[in-house]
Subunit: 319 residues, 2 copies
């Protein structure tokens, strides 16, 4: 049985795994990603990781057919290379991921944006199974996204599609880190939710230290029936609904898969988002639209990277 390597490069860790053609993980490992070091150090670290997995495959008497990598940043999929820079890996600008891996190992390699890779994992093995048109959102410090159209990852003309966090939902609204105003993630990300709750608390005279407040605490308080927490969650769902409805009005998906830290808040939160999406979008689109929790959790990145390798190799071989 031929095996595949999947790598999920993050700002903190490099996760890497040996997997099958079906995206099943055989062995899963992790090491620091050395994100603050020079580009060649990050590559050397990746080479070490691949060598470990090659040794493991050999021990099992198996061969590695292809390598897939999910990385932050916009990635030219044909070249497997970063187009610009990415904030959490300063030296990673224009990193030629595909080229360096292929030259070093003489094994076909592919690289794609991490959100696209995660969307691929949810589409094939997770909450998007059985659907052909999927919107995946990651709710965290920002709002990331991956889109599947007709079973294929939507990469866009400049490999920058699905910048969902920066659609404008409030014209001339609050400032965003991107330099614009009124972006979706300014109103519906985890920090936005925390800021909203803090503001409400202040009005009642309660003040939390910055690091004491997080979305987990807000959901906990809501469970305990605290009105301000419940209000905060409801308002966040409304903004999430408006943003997701806008995206749904454009791509008309069958299912919206919500992942990221905030998404584990439970079925009620997801239902609250679905209600808001249905309210804010065109009925023809959302009558049958489902909003669901992501299922792949922390494995989404490596499973998606394995599947990227599997599917890209199949496509090349079929040409």
């Amino acid at each position: 049985m031929d095996l595949f390597i999947g790598m999920d490069l993050g700002g903190t860790n490099l996760k890497y795994a040996l997997g099958t053609e079906n995206g099943e993980i055989i062995l899963k490992l992790s090491r620091p990603s050395f994100a603050d070091q020079a580009q060649n150090k990050i590559f050397e670290n990746m080479f070490t990781a691949v060598n470990e997995l090659l040794a493991e495959a050999e021990k099992r008497g198996e061969k590695i057919s292809a390598i897939g990598v999910g990385s932050p940043g916009s990635i030219d999929f044909e070249k497997g290379q970063l187009i610009g820079s990415t904030p959490n890996l300063k030296s990673w600008t224009k990193a030629p991921i595909k080229k360096n891996l292929e030259e070093h190992f003489n094994i076909p390699a592919w690289a794609d944006n991490d959100a696209n890779v995660m969307a691929l994992a949810e589409a094939r093995k997770g909450a998007g199974r059985g659907y052909k048109n999927i919107l995946c959102l990651t709710l965290g410090t920002g709002i990331g996204g991956g889109i599947i159209i007709d079973n294929q990852v939507l990469r866009g003309a400049h490999y920058s599609a699905a910048e969902v966090g920066h659609i404008i939902i409030e014209y001339n609204g609050k400032k965003c880190n991107c330099g614009n105003r009124g972006c979706f993630e300014v109103y519906a990300s985890a920090p936005a939710m925390v800021a909203r709750y803090r503001k409400k608390l202040r009005r009642t005279g309660v003040a939390y230290a910055i690091d004491e407040l997080n979305t987990k605490l807000i959901f906990k308080k809501a469970e305990l029936n605290e009105d301000l927490a419940k209000e905060t969650i409801y308002e966040t769902c409304e903004y999430l609904g408006a943003g997701i409805a806008s995206i749904a009005n454009i791509i008309d998906p069958e299912v919206v898969v919500i992942g990221g830290g905030v998404a584990n808040a439970g079925a009620e939160f997801i239902q609250c988002i679905e209600n808001a999406v249905k309210q804010y979008s065109i009925k023809a689109i959302t009558k049958h639209l489902k909003v669901v929790n992501a299922e792949m959790g922390n494995d989404a990145g490596i499973v998606g990277a394995i599947l990227l390798a599997v599917e890209s190799l199949k496509m090349v071989n079929s040409l």
Copy 2:
């Protein structure tokens, strides 16, 4: 040479044409669409139109290979049938366009939403020639849209993609006809532009009768250097920029094609929109993005319908 029939069904007229495999129009005709009559009357009218073109083809010693129809409303492309209703043709609910034409003429027929058909025309023969990822917008009473991804029309899971006029650009903003608030078209359609100008005029004590004001007049006044008109156009461009940027952030197109009555205002208006789009969107996406005028004008609908017939027939024959 085999010929094709294209039909463009509107609220006022049914345009119909005989065309070649390359989308060239050989003969172009028009008749009232009888939009206020019963569904079978509208079909009978379409049958009469097809018969005229069949007679014309026979006179030329040619055969009709397929029929394409662009119609208002969401259309199940596989069935060639309206999914729900459409406001300007009251009896047109669930109209089985493909089935009725095929049964009546025994010629393969396809139907698609009129905005999709127009986008197809611009993509193959108009301002989108040579591009694979295209956003087409029609600025008029509302804002309509068609999207081409990787050379294919994006129809969506429920055949309702590209409802671009109803993305939300101002959360909890002005009321829209769709029932929601803050929709793109409430701020950037022709009536929105006229209302904005009227409001500015009122402040200066000038009042126009409702039917005296239109976008053409505003552009004329701007040409004559009237400040209020110039302001109105600039503000409209800003809203257009915000809405188009949101869509571009999601699908990452190479080109945005602007059609509809308002779009003929000239190169300066288009440049003003492009500037705003570049300001409001992610740089990676819009650095190379072009905003251009539609080129197909009033022929977009029939040329698109001819191409729909040509390409659908080719696809079926290649299966």
